[in-house]
């Protein structure tokens, strides 16, 4: 063993650091690349869902005029819903990894700031969602002669709004995980499904009772799925729905970030950052 000398010391930078954000993204990428089952798992369920709903579509196209009018309505719904679901999981699961490995204490003794952690989780979620969604989307083209990309540019708007909502739910879940620890692990898997009945993924929102529609219109996904049907059935992009989703997303993202940062402060009060884990 030799001696450790002092290196040249960089100046203290108490600002938002892209380098630290990318370091955390790199940490989650190392984790992913080190385990092929994890990569396969990202694509597995979206692909199974796509295949199942593809066959349901083939069947309903012969028996339902609504599906026949826009045969991609169910497949679009399932893949867009998966963007929301995978976006949330992509945000929450890397955070759970920190709890599993009891690494939160080490991380927050480093200069990493909570807001940088949030940014890293968002970026990781984006990458994981792309890995999960793009393969089944491409596979649907030869299997069912259906191409999600035919939606065109509105697809970007739908993707962005659903991903942002996924992040907002992810922030809420990670805030709760900071509060209750790994005992709340299952929240990562089931909490978001509270949204699915009122998000009008597979049916128009006016199917819902009026009181439930009120709740639905307080949530961004319903604007996306209504917008999706407007594109598929009428060939029009509804800017009003886009603006509604975006506006609500800003509100929910702010609330999610507020909850996470508040719970981070509570964790510092209770001293749970160093003890968090299994």
């Amino acid at each position: 063993m030799s001696e450790i000398a002092a290196p040249e010391r960089p100046p203290v930078k108490p600002h938002f650091s892209r380098r630290r954000v990318l370091a955390m993204v790199m940490r989650y990428w190392y984790l992913l690349r080190g385990s092929w089952p994890r990569i396969v798992e990202l694509m597995y369920w979206p692909t199974i869902q796509m295949i199942m709903w593809g066959f349901i579509t083939l069947h309903l196209r012969e028996n339902s005029s609504w599906v026949a009018d826009a045969s991609g309505v169910l497949l679009s719904g399932v893949l867009l819903w998966d963007i929301l679901f995978r976006g949330q999981l992509g945000y929450t699961l890397p955070f759970l990894e920190e709890l599993y490995s009891r690494n939160l204490g080490q991380l927050f003794v480093s200069p990493l700031r909570p807001i940088e952690m949030v940014a890293a989780l968002m970026l990781t979620s984006f990458l994981r969602t792309l890995i999960g969604i793009v393969p089944p989307t491409l596979l649907a083209i030869p299997l069912f002669a259906w191409n999600l990309f035919d939606i065109g540019l509105p697809l970007i708007a739908f993707f962005a709004n659903l991903l942002i909502m996924g992040w907002a739910v992810g922030m809420l879940v990670t805030g709760l995980l900071l509060r209750v620890g790994l005992g709340g692990e299952s929240l990562a898997w089931f909490l978001i499904f509270l949204l699915i009945p009122v998000s009008a993924v597979y049916y128009p929102v006016d199917v819902l009772p009026v009181w439930l529609q009120t709740i639905a219109f307080a949530l961004p996904p319903v604007y996306v799925f209504e917008g999706m049907r407007a594109v598929l059935f009428d060939g029009t992009f509804r800017w009003d729905l886009f603006a509604g989703a975006l506006g609500l997303n800003i509100v929910y993202l702010s609330i999610g970030a507020g909850i996470f940062l508040h719970q981070f402060r509570i964790a510092r009060l209770r001293g749970t950052l160093l003890q968090s884990g299994e």
Binding site: M1, I4, M26, L31
Partner: protein, 256 residues
């Protein structure tokens, strides 16, 4: 120009419900010093270290590191300090090289590859850089934790039992490295340990904690002489068991 202390703690108190973990302690760590923080289990050592690190917010009192209030400006001081404990692990599924690479980036180390190579050589980690952190022995994990703690050349190093789980030979080498590092960089070390020989060898000053209070402090040789004991371990046993009438309860005075 007046040189600020590395750490200045005043009337620091932390309660968890009805339990007072740290009870109004005050002390000051001069720059370049190596201070031992001793006490039995539950004495308040780890809680004190967590508050210095900014991981834990105090109920009252202040902690300043390099003149900055840790509660309000921890982001200003965190790049200048580091921490190692065998009880806090690194991600198990990543290799040592990956772990050190990530932490080097988090600390925005200049030339991370060269720094990691230097530290790996110094701590004899070169042959295990591609092994997953979760597959290491306890002693190897301790060395990797120390390597992480050295990445940013910290001006303040907080160590919780740095040689726990190490064989005597490796532990001795680690102590030599810590002593050399301090001499070379002028860094300050706060060392929580149950190894009294280690404390006697490394530390200029010792603070003894019991039930959240600092019950005595001083240079190891002074404490041994003052308590009329043969070594620091005997002093420690007297103080943590509360059998020593000489426990001075010096909270409020600087440990200088």
């Amino acid at each position: 120009m007046l040189r600020t202390s590395a750490v200045r703690v005043e009337n620091l108190t932390k309660r968890f419900g009805d339990v007072v973990a740290v009870d109004g302690i005050s002390f000051e760590l001069p720059r370049g010093a190596c201070i031992g923080l001793l006490g039995g289990n539950g004495a308040g050592k780890t809680t004190t270290i967590q508050m210095i690190l900014g991981l834990l917010l105090p109920n009252s009192g202040t902690v300043e590191v390099f003149g900055e209030d840790v509660v309000r400006h921890r982001e200003r001081v965190l790049p200048r300090l580091n921490f190692s404990s065998p009880y806090v692990e690194l991600p198990h599924r990543l290799t040592i090289a990956e772990n050190l690479c990530i932490y080097a980036e988090l600390y925005e180390v200049t030339d991370p590859k060269a720094r990691i190579a230097e530290i790996a050589a110094a701590l004899d980690l070169e042959r295990m850089m591609d092994r997953e952190a979760g597959r290491l022995s306890a002693g190897q994990k301790t060395r990797v934790g120390l390597a992480k703690a050295m990445l940013n050349a910290p001006e303040l190093l907080l160590l919780d039992e740095p040689t726990a789980s190490l064989d005597p030979d490796t532990a001795d080498r680690i102590r030599a490295h810590l002593a050399h590092y301090r001499d070379e960089t002028g860094g300050t070390i706060l060392l929580a340990s149950h190894n009294m020989a280690e404390v006697e060898r490394l530390c200029d000053q010792v603070m003894m904690m019991r039930a959240g209070k600092i019950v005595d402090r001083g240079a190891p040789t002074d404490l041994i002489a003052r308590h009329g004991r043969a070594n620091l371990e005997e002093v420690f046993l007297d103080l943590v068991r509360g059998t020593d009438a000489d426990a001075t309860g010096l909270d409020g005075e600087a440990a200088q």
